[in-house]
Symmetry: C2
Subunit: 583 residues, 2 copies
């Protein structure tokens, strides 16, 4: 090795030792008689000391070095005169007697500091410099650690990691596939997997009993903020398991991660049905770090002559505790917030429960103090609180109120990144109606099993929307970090499901034939779950964006600005692949 | 869970317990008064017992079940009357009192036995049934175990597993890329990585110090036997490391695997230069489980009037110990072997060292007993040995003799799959001349560093073929399981290398620009290695083919016959991707 030690490990116990260190020049300070260099590697920073008096030549050499030069320094560990208690190596420095420049560096386009002066675009273009910064490095270290924890945990639970193919068959159901032209089979294409769903089910048919894989998946979607065309899943499946077993197993995994990474202990994760989550939070992934549950007000709000309320399917609100002193300006801002196209509400009704016990609202014309008191009672509000009310079509209004609730939670500091509130959302609807294409879609995927007590409804097309699935999501802090379901292992039931999804037998067989064939050779009951690993890491890292938990992410146009990818390919490549680009 | 126990864990200590087991019907035997079913899951086999006398109805039910039915059985663990010492559960059976059919099965197209009656094609089409067979299941379990061992070992050595992108930029240098059309960037393409080479070097520039990844790679080659278009590498890179450090580190990993998986201990792995390997074995991946090293015979073989020898650049042979009694027929078979087009020799000369001390050869006309004795002395042969000799252009003849040596090793049972002979081959040539395109190619890849003492030769084009690289392969039993090199971290040297490879500055920058840019911001000295993980697993599994160590492999046309992939895609998909298929 070029070094005897890393830049993070020497301390007062090493004083007197001769060492060789390698690293990057983080910072240098010329104090006249002395020059100090902070030498940085992945493990830490160690101070190199050069003395003008004892070795002028070497000191001069040290002074000429620029930021991010790669250096090798040989010297003796000595105790520092002015110690730095903030870093583990802060009590010592290296009295350097030999200094080698292993590589020079141009001046980096931004500083390699925790708070960099590089904007997002610059950081992405020079990602290899960005990763040198502590925050990004720590994220990647966290990701490695979490992957190791997950693998060892699942392996100890008899799960086998089995690699499934990346070059698979395109199945138009679901999101758009990335495809790969086959040179050896002209006119034919592979697809990159959106998930190993079918393969993991085949592995259950194959008797592998418990499977997992930390696996790259691909989705050719129009990228919204913080979506990546390639992403990583912790993909799991187990045989002979019921819903309770799956929830237990992966709640165990989540608790293990919380304990090991965050030193946090949790009791049983709360569970909530999808309907309850929608009713109380207007979301299938409620952030339960804070309360502010929805209160439905039709009985106290309607029949008072306020036509917006009277004509609404649902009047519903939240109680912002202690916010009765909100100013006109603050209330206007909230109204503006709910009227934004992203939220889409027509307006906002407020009711202030003043400290003196009186009420003030934006609907005083229709609601006298008694009527407002009745509203406040529904909320369980107390003097000092502010009630915020929306109305309209039930589901739409709930979703709007969800935005307002999260906004208020944010304003009130109730969404702390260092607090974790996990939750299971269960009993999702099996099928979801799509207005545009006028058909039902599988809410999870076509292999999700209905709840046994709802199975009969598959024979009643008018009730399809009411069928509940044995499907579940794990939600942490309002983020869906994982989801899964009990799978259909019975061919007859699977056929009914395809029928509900509008697949002819032929079309179903064309797309999923090999899976259906497999099911006729003794498929065991099985169930699974997949975590979004990028998201899980960012959550544990206390960040909103997944991008800094991916070493080389793509931007919102699916481009890697560092390598300038994608890019045109040569005519020869196109010819070999038997394809052409449309002009 | 549908079960209380697996089919592999109950034994005499569980007698009297009530248990519920799930699994597949492996075999059923109707003995009149009793019916026995072998119930199989991933963990083992447990015998279910049904008694006609005590429960005729249940026994009748059991008799009607077919192979591979999925069953759930509730009953009591009892001691068997006739024990089976071959399986861990062989002392007990389950007296069944409740039997549920969880799923039926069609009769499988081949038997689910260690030696199946399914041919390769059938096994691949029904891979989910094939995996139920012990040998395939064990291979996948071994693969999981080896991946865990590798990850934990490297993680303990401060390597971080960092995921690199799968959608990258196409670089025409090297093998053919699989490409992925970008819908959002019409006319542009991603490539799937042939290896994460550039990204792992960028991670070194990024200061990550030690990186690894068990990662899928892709190569669109015409598939030879036992090549897969997608394959898995253990990809590693480390900074501030010299060749010795890399060899030490990964020799340590290999030893760890041998110890944990095979309980084998090794001393230091032998090392051999590429030139030595070619001279002694005619191969850069010699199988050193057996000796039979090449002996060069020009001095004793030439000048005797045998024109084939006299005109040859090299006369070289091997000594097959104890084979002097080979018959005419056996010798003819060996001659036929070397004359096969795959080997390509013109003929074979033999010299028998008879037990009585006399010699018999196919060149007796030119070689008297004394001359043959001189040949035998070169070989260090003793009575009873058989010397086999080829001649011709040096390198070509060595490669031919390599085939013969391996053939003889096979015939003599010297290539035992349960014996392991690891070896480092070092000092590979940096550049390799290609007759067809009349240019040099990088033997490893364009970032491999020359040996410092050979660096100056880069300025002498006529000496380019002599430059040795700081490159190394790890070879086990004649299989190259891994390889790597010290990388060039100096931009000037890298430019010289590109020059030798015939790249203009523009072309080099176009293809590798971001890497070259990165190198100008303080690239540390670094080096790496990648293991072929599929191959490593098959070697540890004692098998020749990698296919059964991959859950869902493709055939030699790159097809997955189970899912019928690749396949045509819809016109809509083509249109969205802005490409068309040539007619």
């Amino acid at each position: 090795m070029y070094r005897t030690n890393t830049c993070g490990e020497l301390n007062i116990n090493n004083v007197g030792q001769t060492v060789t260190l390698c690293g990057w020049l983080q910072r240098s300070r010329d104090l006249g008689g002395m020059t100090f260099i902070d030498l940085r590697d992945r493990y830490g920073i160690t101070q190199l000391a050069f003395n003008m008096e004892t070795n002028a030549e070497l000191c001069e050499k040290a002074r000429r070095l620029g930021r991010e030069y790669v250096l090798q320094a040989v010297g003796t560990v000595i105790e520092r005169s002015s110690k730095n208690s903030k870093i583990p190596t802060g009590e010592i420095e290296i009295e350097v007697r030999e200094l080698n420049i292993l590589n020079e560096s141009k001046t980096p386009p931004f500083t390699i500091e925790d708070s960099s002066d590089g904007g997002d675009d610059l950081r992405m273009k020079y990602r290899y410099l960005d990763i040198r910064r502590n925050p990004v490095r720590c994220n990647l270290e966290l990701r490695h650690r979490m992957a190791m924890l997950v693998r060892n945990y699942l392996s100890n639970q008899d799960f086998l990691e089995i690699e499934t193919p990346m070059l698979i068959k395109s199945t138009p159901e679901g999101a758009r596939d990335f495809v790969v032209p086959s040179r050896m089979n002209p006119g034919e294409f592979y697809a990159l997997p959106q998930s190993p769903q079918q393969y993991k089910q085949l592995l259950m048919v194959a008797g592998m009993d418990r499977y997992f894989q930390i696996v790259r998946c691909f989705r050719d979607e129009d990228l919204r903020a913080d979506r990546q065309p390639e992403f990583t899943q912790i993909d799991c499946e187990m045989s002979f398991a019921e819903q309770e077993d799956v929830l237990d197993m992966f709640e165990g995994l989540a608790k293990h991660l919380f304990k090991e990474v965050k030193d946090l202990d949790f009791g049983a994760f709360p569970r909530m049905t999808w309907h309850e989550a929608m009713r109380l939070y207007g979301s299938d992934k409620p952030d339960i770090r804070f309360g502010m549950q929805f209160v439905e007000l039709n009985d106290v709000a309607q029949g008072r002559g306020f036509s917006l309320f009277d004509g609404a399917e649902l009047v519903v609100g939240i109680n912002a505790e202690g916010c009765a002193d909100y100013t006109r300006k603050q209330l206007d801002a909230l109204t503006d917030f709910v009227k934004r196209p992203q939220v889409g509400a027509g307006g906002l009704v407020y009711v202030k429960y003043n400290a003196d016990g009186s009420f003030k609202s934006s609907v005083d014309k229709f609601f006298d103090q008694n009527a407002l008191h009745a509203v406040a009672d529904k909320f369980g509000a107390k003097p000092g609180d502010l009630m915020l009310i929306l109305c309209g079509p039930a589901m739409k209004t709930r979703v709007q109120l969800c935005s307002l609730r999260l906004e208020m939670g944010g304003r009130l500091g109730l969404r702390r990144p260092d607090q974790f509130a996990p939750l299971w959302v269960i009993d999702f609807p099996l099928l979801e109606w799509d207005e545009e294409t006028q058909r039902f879609y599988a809410m999870h995927h076509p292999f999700t099993a209905p709840k046994p007590e709802d199975e009969a409804l598959l024979d009643q097309p008018d009730r399809w929307g009411d069928i509940r699935a044995n499907a579940y999501d794990i939600v942490i802090n309002g983020v869906e970090v994982g989801g899964g379901s009990i799978r259909i292992h019975d061919r007859v039931l699977q056929n009914k499901m395809f029928h509900a999804l509008g697949f002819s037998d032929e079309k179903a067989y064309e797309q999923f034939g090999f899976l259906l064939d497999a099911f006729s050779y003794g498929a065991p009951p099985h169930a699974g779950l997949a975590f979004g690993f990028d998201r899980l890491c960012s959550l544990f890292g206390g960040a909103d964006s997944i991008r800094d938990f991916i070493a080389f992410p793509k931007n919102n146009s699916g481009r890697d600005v560092m390598s300038c990818s994608p890019a045109p390919i040569s005519q020869q490549q196109l010819d070999e692949l038997n394809i052409c680009v449309k002009q």
